[in-house]
């Protein structure tokens, strides 16, 4: 009985796959190429994750390298004994959480405000200006930051000095540096990140707003009861994705912004990997660190998705 049931399911599945294939083959053909891309550039390179468990040699194929000590976990043990790695782990978490708490709501608020603007042209201009920083590389942004925030030659500090105030160490004191780091990150990305929300807002049925107006709802009521619930699923999806990146942090932002005076808070996992792995040739150690980082990220992603489904949202799958 059971067997026949599975058989039927299998047949159905087979059948439906064939049917879909026949009906939408053009779409599948189009899909095939991106899949091949993912396979070649994202999955095949994963073979080299083995380096984390092996003694790396620059001239051997990854299959020929000898296994590391301690059943291959030598480099994971080394990483967790390395104080710099632990600091980098702490800093990554700290900076990313700050980014999440401060950087995540701002695009939403910005989208809501933008949505309330009556003058279409003004709205477009504001939107475009807010996008622009997204296209600047971090090296350029650091150049701008130096011109503005450097203790003696920075514009803002020169103004402060002329008005009789002390310079503010925006870049050369750990606490201030964190604030500058977060501020620059938000400034660079909030315009760009608000696009998704604006698109979601545009998809809300305008009749809802009309009905609310008839019922006497003001702007804030409408925002609270219509716009925000309307984009809630978008917010949740993006929140899950950012939680999945909680240990991720790009390389260029911390690397471009850090300097020797603030390394106690600025050294993150990606820059640790660069300095020890690529410059110091400790490939196995840093692959182990990178692998660990990915596992934690996947864990956070699954967790966030699970929570959102428990709360009645759709999650990302």
């Amino acid at each position: 009985m059971k067997a026949s049931k599975t058989n039927i399911v299998a047949v159905q599945k087979k059948k439906s796959f064939g049917v879909y294939m026949k009906r939408y083959w053009q779409l599948y053909v189009l899909l095939a190429l991106p899949l091949v891309y993912l396979l070649i550039f994202k999955y095949i390179p994963m073979v080299y994750i083995q380096i984390a468990f092996k003694d790396y040699s620059i001239v051997q194929s990854v299959w020929e390298m000898p296994w590391a000590d301690n059943n291959g976990f030598e480099y994971f043990i080394k990483a967790f004994k390395n104080r710099d790695f632990l600091f980098a782990l702490r800093n990554t978490l700290f900076l990313n959480l700050l980014d999440l708490f401060i950087g995540f709501p701002i695009p939403i608020i910005f989208a809501l405000i933008l949505n309330e603007l009556v003058f279409k042209n003004f709205k477009r201009v504001v939107q475009t200006i807010a996008y622009m920083p997204h296209f600047l590389s971090w090296v350029i942004i650091y150049g701008l930051a130096l011109q503005l925030f450097a203790p003696t030659n920075g514009l803002i500090n020169m103004l402060l000095n002329n008005m009789g105030f002390e310079s503010i160490p925006f870049l050369n004191e750990s606490g201030h540096w964190v604030a500058t780091y977060i501020f620059l990150g938000v400034w660079q990305s909030f315009g760009w990140n608000s696009i998704v929300y604006l698109a979601a807002i545009a998809g809300i049925n305008p009749e809802l707003y009309e009905a609310a107006s008839v019922d006497g709802a003001g702007r804030f009521r409408k925002m609270w009861h219509i716009t925000l619930p309307g984009i809630r699923s978008t917010i949740v999806v993006l929140l899950i994705m950012s939680l999945g990146n909680i240990l991720g942090s790009g390389f260029d932002r911390p690397f471009a912004l850090q300097n020797k005076l603030v390394m106690d808070v600025a050294n993150v996992i990606s820059t640790f990997v660069y300095k020890n792995g690529i410059k110091g040739l400790q490939f196995s150690l840093t692959t182990a660190v990178g692998f660990f980082q990915s596992i934690i990220c996947v864990f956070f992603l699954l967790l966030a998705n699970w929570i959102s489904r428990r709360l009645g949202e759709r999650g990302i799958w």
Binding site: L30, V59, A150, N172, K260, L261, M263
Partner: protein, 578 residues
Amino acid sequence: MKKRIIALVLASCMTMSLMACGGKTEEAAAPAEPATEEAAPAEEAAPAEEAAPAEEAAVDPSNGEIVDGKFVETRKITVEIYDRGNDGGSDPTNNMYTEYIKKGMLEDHNVEVEFVAVPRWTEVEQINNLLAAGDAPDICLTYDYPTIQTYANMGGVLDMSTYLADYKDMLPNLFNWLGDTNIYWNRDPQNGTVWAIEGKRAVTARINTFVRQDWLDQLGLQAPTTKAEFEAMLVAFRDNADTLLGADADKMVPYSISYDVGWRAATLIESFMDPAISGREYYVNGFDDRKFTENGTKEAVRLINKWYNDGLIWKDFALYGSGDATEDDMMKAGYVGAFTHNWDYPWRNGTDSIAANLVRMVGPDAKFVAIDPFEDSKGTHTKFITSSAGDRKIFFPSTNEEPVACMLYLDWISDPEHIQYLQLGDEGVTHTVVEEGVYASMAAEGEAIMNSGQNIDYTITCNGLNLATPESTLKSLAYSYAEADPADVANAYEIAMTDSRAERNVNVGAITAEEGMGPALSEKRDIVFDTAVVASVDEFDSIWDAGYEDYLSSGGQAIIDERTEKWIATFGDVAEQP
């Protein structure tokens, strides 16, 4: 129907484009694959295999492969060349100097040479990538020996010892120029392997401190000869900023350093070291070339810290990374009173040198001159200069299939005549003749521009002016900077060599604790230097001690211990090597 056609067209377009990309990557990867696969056998087999014909060659030089120093069949080698990306420079892989080398090698040895550009400031990373891809040039160079040792331990480097021994007769220039000292500098004392040979420094002067002569004159000061006088001079610069800089008084920087304090205050740090330091103590603490753990460094940094808190040092020094031009621009604009740097720094880069810019932007009297202000506990001015080695290290990656041709290249590039031509260029284009055997550099244009001073990037076995005769070299050195006053240069050279102490080669075998630690420890060292300099005077001790402790526990102590152990194992428990 229409939809189908469009879909088909789109799909085939994508396939085509992807195929095109795929094709390219495959092509690029193709040479890499066999290399990585073959590497392991090659590493074991190559020396043995090559050694046999090599011996034959020694017995019978006309074994058909090489006749009169020329290969019967044309060989092809690739050579690493630094790309410095200078403004207005030429393509480092293709210009009149590379043509000279290519032509010479083809005529003399029937070897075709191809240059592979590697960015100067990221050379280690770049060579790394090339080695991993099996694409590394046949002749590689780097300033960083631990890197080579790491590659060698992975089996990525050819052992040169057999070739050096078997082909010695065919490499007269190489042996004449480098001598056994530099060639066997890195020979392993246990098993005799030679992973790399050391290029030679023709000029061993290292560091000088410079001061604005016109500022001294304006304030009626003498050039300082002690630390106290130097400090008083900095204070005078600071307090007279209005006189010296007028409207730009707020831009005054009495003494300028960079984030790399250990380098940019090197003579000051050396003056705090015990002038009687033993060879053993110096070596044991010698892993860090900024002398971080040597005996006096802390007190030197304490003095810099005091100066910083007194407003005598550039406040923004730590914010600019290596290669950033901001500090140089301040010197060029005339805001900087004094600084410490390479012994010839103000005159480097011809028309774009600090000296030339200063004259253009400030006035004809403005100039930096070298001074010798940091006395040590004996009252002398000890400066640790480089040994004849300590320059670039040349190695052959294990993918090198033409080690003999590469050896001949090293010989060719060490020929005094070839060095002289590459350093001087053509008369009337890059130099003029002052008198018999004395050459003065002039600013070149277009093709003839040298991307590196005296073309040192091409003369890989030679760094610094080295002409056919020593007298000619010494006299020409002062004239070797375009648009510089020869008297100033001669004075700077003399000061840089005053009370100088050359580093000795200590070869006790590979120190395993050093492997892969260089970048991480250098970074830590810079962090300690920088945070200690900007600390308040009260906090200096705690910040320095904490950072120093962290440096030691993160690998520094292990290196010191292993160096001590191997020193004792090699030379016995003595203070100086025999």
